[in-house]
Amino acid sequence: MLSSKRFFRIISDHLVATPARLKVLSALDTQRIYVENVRAFLGTSTWIARQICETAVRQGLFVKRVQILCPDGAVALTVDDEKAVPDEVQCWREVDGELEPVSERTERLDRLEFYQLVRSTA
């Protein structure tokens, strides 16, 4: 398991590696960290990026949250726990050039995980 010190060292090692990466990290919203952001930042595989995020969760540095996506990809709802997902959410659908509200069953919708840096460690 990574210690918090080592976790930040990995990040900072890459930070000092290139100015481009520094720019990426500084632009990252620490309250909306997707695995793909970490992967692109570190230039690593998705699997390693996910392991780093999950290690950070186990060590209390990150918390994981879940977004429920409407069929068009818009986020309908963000929850702390998949168990808290309601049966339906409201999305919007374009019909004949007009937007109409539509209830979608959440069991049919994609779920996207993201991570937040716990503020006390920020």
Partner: protein, 284 residues
């Protein structure tokens, strides 16, 4: 193969209509000059189920298809459990198997009003590669072809394809994140994207390029920022090829964050679909 062996002429017609006409006429050369719908009926009436089954497996890659790339978190999981009932068609080589499912539709006809149940035969290809499963299915039409000669009021498909992804997640087969592999092809200029959807920090953005231009070549500053974000439904177009002017028409859709690809054009070269999937996985 029970579903194929016991298929009615109508079911075989609908099954054959999934395939591009040139491939049908190449396998059954006597049908040159026939319209596709007539050619499908003539082949269906031959009742040569074995030949149709062999043709299906050999020409799967030419058809319009959805591909789900799944991460095998549970190695024992069978993706067929999330699909309508099916029979095995064949297993040509290790790790690859073909299946034929029945998708039920309720069809409402007029003159007189009548509800009819129609089962459309739906080919499925499953490929197991170490910790990845590739699940390929043909693109289903909204309405099954109406051969009744009566007006069609509406048809309702009694299989919710949208729920398939969450059912697979529950089986321990979530979508594989292929952002890295897709972005590799984009970066290598094998493809460019006329439509990009991606996730920003607190919003979701769509970029529709004018005149079908590619985002990477037209807006390189935006491109370098977007490739750091998770991609959602994005349309990709193969790079121009002077030897194949029609290649750029073969747009495919990718939702890399959820491991989905959609090839909604017929493919002349069976390698087109396979080559894209292979290149993505090799660089993911």
């Amino acid at each position: 193969m029970a579903r194929l062996e016991h298929a009615t002429v109508e079911q075989l017609r609908r099954l054959l209509e999934f395939f591009p006409a040139p491939k049908l006429k190449s396998e059954w050369p006597g049908l040159k000059g026939q319209k596709k719908e007539d050619a499908c009926e003539i082949i269906a009436r031959t009742g040569d189920h074995a030949r149709i089954g062999t043709f299906l497996m050999a020409n799967f890659a030419h058809c319009r298809q959805h591909v789900l790339l799944l991460s095998r978190q549970n190695m024992q999981s069978d993706p067929l459990a999330a699909l309508p009932p099916s029979d095995a068609l064949g297993q040509p080589h290790g790790g690859v198997s073909y299946h034929l499912a029945s998708v039920p539709y309720s069809v409402y006809l007029l003159d007189p009003v009548e509800e009819v149940q129609v089962n459309v035969l739906w080919p499925i290809k499953i490929e197991q590669q170490d910790e990845i499963t590739l699940l390929r299915t043909f693109v289903l039409e909204r309405d099954p072809n109406n051969y009744s000669g009566r007006p069609l009021l509406k048809a309702v498909r009694n299989f919710d394809e949208k729920k398939l992804a969450s059912d697979l997640v529950n089986l321990g087969l979530p979508g594989l994140d292929i952002n890295k592999g897709v972005k590799f092809l984009w970066d290598m200029k094998a493809v460019d994207a006329p439509r990009v959807r991606y996730k920003e920090s607190e919003s979701t953005y769509t970029v529709d390029m004018d005149d079908g231009k590619g985002l990477r070549d037209t807006k390189p500053e935006a491109y370098v920022e977007i490739v750091k974000k998770p991609l959602l439904n994005t349309n990709f177009r193969p790079q121009e090829d002077p030897e194949d002017p029609e290649k750029t028409q073969k747009i495919f859709q990718a939702n890399p964050t959820f491991g989905r690809l959609g090839f909604t054009s017929y493919s002349d070269d069976p390698g087109d679909t396979d080559a894209v999937i292979k290149a993505i996985l090799q660089n993911n």
